[in-house]
């Protein structure tokens, strides 16, 4: 697993994708941070994170699109799947590499509340809790992207379908409200964005929501392993 992790990590920096992904997120963090916190003087960094969510929806497919699809297209999956490594090891290695890359802009974001604190009163606890929720949400996005990438050989299809799924998650609450009330109340319990909003808007530490994020990430990792497994036996 560690060999795969290291290779994946370096491959993102051998190509432009890793740099572009980090640059996009850092650039927009800078813009929102400047506009909300520095220019308008809001003390909560979480508002910046709230706006960054939509940027993340565009950026994550960039990161995940090649993870599985490219292996299959170039037949390098034959090396991975015939090596003495479990499928779970392969999938986890890739997932952790992508999560590590996502951690870089998140770590840079961690300086922003400190900058606010230097210049006035900051809400460090709620900001860092929001950052944790932001990171976990990104990890769920990565797991979804990787799963969709494992279904196809085409990076484009992987990226577009990932974006579509993330968009549905983003619009979940609005879409669910069109459904009959019984169904709607059930499905709104799975609202993906509400958890994040609890953190950033209401400064609520939504433990239940974090459990939802972790389980969703685990679910999609599991599905990715099953997709690879199924292909072997097809």
């Amino acid at each position: 697993m560690s060999a795969i992790y290291k290779r994946e990590l370096s491959s993102y920096f051998n190509s432009m994708i890793g740099y572009v992904f980090i640059a996009v997120l850092v650039f927009f963090t800078g813009i929102y941070f400047m506009a909300y916190n520095l220019y308008n003087g809001l003390p909560q960094f979480s508002y910046t994170l709230y706006s960054l969510m939509s940027i993340l929806m565009f950026a994550i497919p960039l990161l995940t699109m090649k993870s599985m699809a490219e292996e299959r297209r170039s037949r390098t999956d034959q090396l991975l799947l015939t090596a003495p490594v479990s499928l779970t090891g392969v999938v986890m290695g890739k997932f952790l590499a992508m999560a590590t890359i996502f951690l870089i802009p998140v770590a840079l974001c961690a300086f922003c509340p400190l900058i606010i604190a230097m210049n006035g009163e900051a809400r460090l606890l709620s900001d860092y809790a929001s950052l944790l929720a932001f990171f976990l949400m990104g990890c769920v996005f990565i797991a979804i992207g990787m799963f969709l990438s494992s279904l196809t050989e085409s990076q484009i299809i992987a990226a577009v379908s990932t974006f579509a799924v993330l968009l549905v998650l983003f619009l979940w609450d609005d879409l669910v409200s069109f459904l009959p009330s019984a169904l709607s109340s059930l499905l709104s319990a799975f609202s993906f964005t509400q958890v994040f909003y609890n953190f950033v808007q209401y400064s609520v530490f939504d433990l239940k929501g974090l459990v939802l994020y972790v389980s969703l990430a685990a679910l999609f990792l599991f599905l990715t392993v099953q997709t690879l497994q199924k292909r072997r036996w097809a």
Partner: protein, 328 residues
């Protein structure tokens, strides 16, 4: 040792591997021969655990590939049909990654990658990107990857494809050397290659085993009705009735004569009948000089063609044969 028992792989309605069973003892170079689409690559993918079998079992070095995949895979080095290379890495980086993947201890990695690069002759390009290497070099890097960890069993799917004649000779020598310490299974649709390198052959066609044995055994067992070629001085019209009257003859064919005033016939006899003496006697009695009489044994090439030519795949084989002949 590798044991394949009653292996079946079905893709929907298509039966890619059809109840295949064979055993490869330790230290043997085992050749897989068959026309394109015969199921060679599928079988190899099944043996290495890349694909799961529909039914049947594969045991490598005492471990079932389906039950204990990690232990079985540890004993296998695999070079697939298309070498699985990450084009954004250099040769050295790639081999270091592959060594890590195969759980070669960290201390030995540098030494081992150097050694396999020496063996396959890619040491000189070790710091170049795989993207910039030619097909032949890529193939050799793929082979280096299979050698890493020096596993007991090497499975090589068409290892010499894309190499120039000089490299083919080098790789063949390498495979023969490896065969002393490793069990090597290699596939090919080129007969001369397997014939030269392998101790044991398995010919498959439509996913089925059609023949197996050492190259000599195959020649012996399949050339059961040895044909004779007789060259006689005299007119064909006179010779033909004499020969066709021979007891035990099953087929007589006139071939274009090799020299003026002589005629050439090909005779096939029923199993167990030796016509050589009878041909000599009948010619001697009629005072026809017998210029040449020889057994026309079936070559392995003929056997291969005969076994695999009962369908539209046959013309393809002809092409391969021609390509073979063009090679120096």
């Amino acid at each position: 040792m590798i044991e394949v028992r009653d292996l079946v792989k079905r893709y929907g309605r298509h039966l890619a591997v059809d109840h295949l069973s064979f055993t490869v003892p330790d230290g043997q170079i085992f050749g897989f021969l068959g026309p394109n689409g015969a199921g060679k690559s599928t079988t190899m993918n099944l043996m290495t655990g890349y694909l799961g079998p529909t039914s049947g079992e594969i045991v490598v070095d005492g471990h079932s590939v389906t039950q204990e995949p990690e232990l079985a895979k540890r004993a296998i080095g695999y070079l697939p049909e298309i070498p699985p290379l990450y084009l954004d890495m250099t040769v050295e980086e790639y081999l270091d990654f592959a060594a890590g993947l195969k759980k070669v201890p960290k201390k030995e990695r540098g030494e081992q990658t150097d050694r396999v690069m020496e063996l396959t002759g890619v040491f000189g390009v070790r710091s170049r990107l795989l993207r910039n290497l030619s097909k032949g070099y890529r193939q050799r890097v793929g082979l280096s990857q299979a050698l890493l960890g020096f596993p007991k069993v090497l499975i090589l799917d068409e290892p010499t494809v894309g190499l120039d004649p000089q490299q083919i000779l080098e790789i063949r020598t390498l495979i023969r050397d490896l065969g002393r310490e490793h069990t090597v299974i290699l596939s090919s649709h080129i007969l001369s290659e397997v014939q030269e390198v392998c101790d044991h052959l398995l010919i498959i066609h439509h996913g089925k085993k059609v023949a197996a044995g050492t190259p000599e055994e195959l020649e012996r067992s399949l050339a059961r009705t040895p044909a004779l070629e007789a060259e006689v001085r005299g007119e064909a019209e006179r010779v033909q009735p004499l020969l066709s009257a021979l007891p035990g003859l099953t087929a007589l064919e006139q071939l274009p004569p090799r020299e003026d005033g002589a005629c050439l016939f090909r005779l096939e006899a029923a199993e167990g009948t030796d016509l050589r003496e009878a041909v000599f006697r009948v010619c001697a009695r009629e005072d026809l000089p017998l210029l040449e009489l020889r057994r026309d044994a079936m070559t392995l090439e003929d056997i291969f063609l005969k076994l695999t030519s009962d369908d539209p795949a046959a013309p393809q084989l002809e092409n391969n044969r021609q390509k073979e002949e063009e090679k120096p």
